[in-house]
Amino acid sequence: MNMDTPVTINTAAANGFLGKLRRYGIIYLELWKNSVIREMQFKTNFIMWIFVELLWFTLQLTFIGVIYMHTDRIATWTKWEVVMLIGASHFIQQLYTAIFLTNVVQLSEHIRTGKLDFMLLLPVNTRFIISFRQVDLGGFVNAASAVVVMAYAAKQLELVPSAAQIFGFLMLCVVGIAIHYSLMFTLTAVSFWTVRAQGIVWAYYNLFNIARLPDAAFRGWFKVFFTFAIPMLLVTNVPVKLLVQKLGSPFEMVVLAGMGVLCAIISEGVWRVSVKHYTSASS
């Protein structure tokens, strides 16, 4: 709806990789500005949603608190390690929400209303404009609340992570967000074939529930499936294990990165096939 803001781009500068990066940087900045303006129109709503997310976050922490009233270990995980895990999971999920969620969800809507036609015509990469159209600023606020909880858990664990550990943690979080994005994007691409893709989004939300649980509690086919098919048990567990020095071997990080690359390749493949099969809603 805010696409009509003209963005002037110097075409001469759009040559080469750096030029391209600069050009997309400028476009993304404009999209950010639009999002801020949009959010500020509904201030109360903005604050209410942050409150809702905070409530659910508290709920998850309460659940863990109640479990640890009756035990002091879940498999190999102690209480504050799990709190760290829940915090990290919330951190990843909220950053994902901030940057991607609304956009990915809206894809089916763009197809239904025929808006996708218009996007395909824009002189930018279509997947870029679909994925980054809006920013959900509340997500950043919620991610900050997760950082507070993680810092508190680190204090309880008497953990002083080195700069390298924090850097590694953040990089692995980026991989985690990329995996969530790739998987959900792949799933919503189904809406090229059927109109009702809303259920898919809801289904994916169930998977976030697994990502916040300690991997050591899982066994058998469930563990294999959610590690190597849908890597939910890796996205949060691996970065947290790096932080609390629980990694069995550095190989776990390689697996996470490898799964990230694999998911990205699959989602790009599915996207290309889908667009090729796309025959506008109006025709």
């Binding site: 309460t62 109640v66 009233m69 009756h70 879940i74 259920g199 697994i210």
Partner: protein
Amino acid sequence: MEKYWHVINIGIQNTLVYRMNFLFRSVFGLIPLMATIFLWRAVYEGKDGGDISGYTLAKMVSYYLIVTIVDALTAVTEDDWHIAADIKDGNISQFLIKPVDYLTYRLSLFFAGRAVYTAVAIFPVIIFIFFQREFFVLPPDALTFVLFMVSMVLTALLQFFISYTMALLAFWVLEVSTFIFILFAIEYIAGGHLFPIDILPPLVAKILYLTPFPYQMFFPVSIYLGQATGVELWRGLAIQSFWVVATYCLARFVWHRGIRKYSAVGG
């Protein structure tokens, strides 16, 4: 009365359209359930066969399985959104002139929706329970099971009246979705979806028992598991009935206030 049977009939036919959606929903809903079971198994393994506030592992797993069944049968899923939308879009005007009571109409649609959902979700849930059968306990006796069913009907009514009243907020505020989500979060924890509330410290559990929330889920499940027996059971049923009547009256009251406001806006 007969006209509401027609509403139920139409409701069933309309919701049948979503049967694939329901199937999808119920199947994916089993994934977090499975994860919760794994989590509790790990907890019990660390305790070497002890129990937690009277729950053995089998009882704990059964708790979540019964919650899933009660939830399929009684949860308000989209009704509240539809009610809020009806008010916002002015669709309720027609009910003010037709001899149809909106609350009864909505309740009929709610029952129709639950009937279809249960009919669809029953298959994946039964298959799932079959695989968990070593952890699935049966109710102690037939009477318990009957009382469990009675309590479940009351739960459905309670869930509906509370959600209905919440959706009526649409008369006063533009955006009810945040309110609905906040209520849902409270019901989720205080109602016992997340964990049985009697594993909480006794004082906290006692305080929760003063609210209607445990009667929205925890109470029927505790009947099934034989946790609530004798006087406690009958008293619980009485309190649950009280909450049903109270929330019904509240729903009626809020509707009347809302309609006054609504008419005023419509001129």
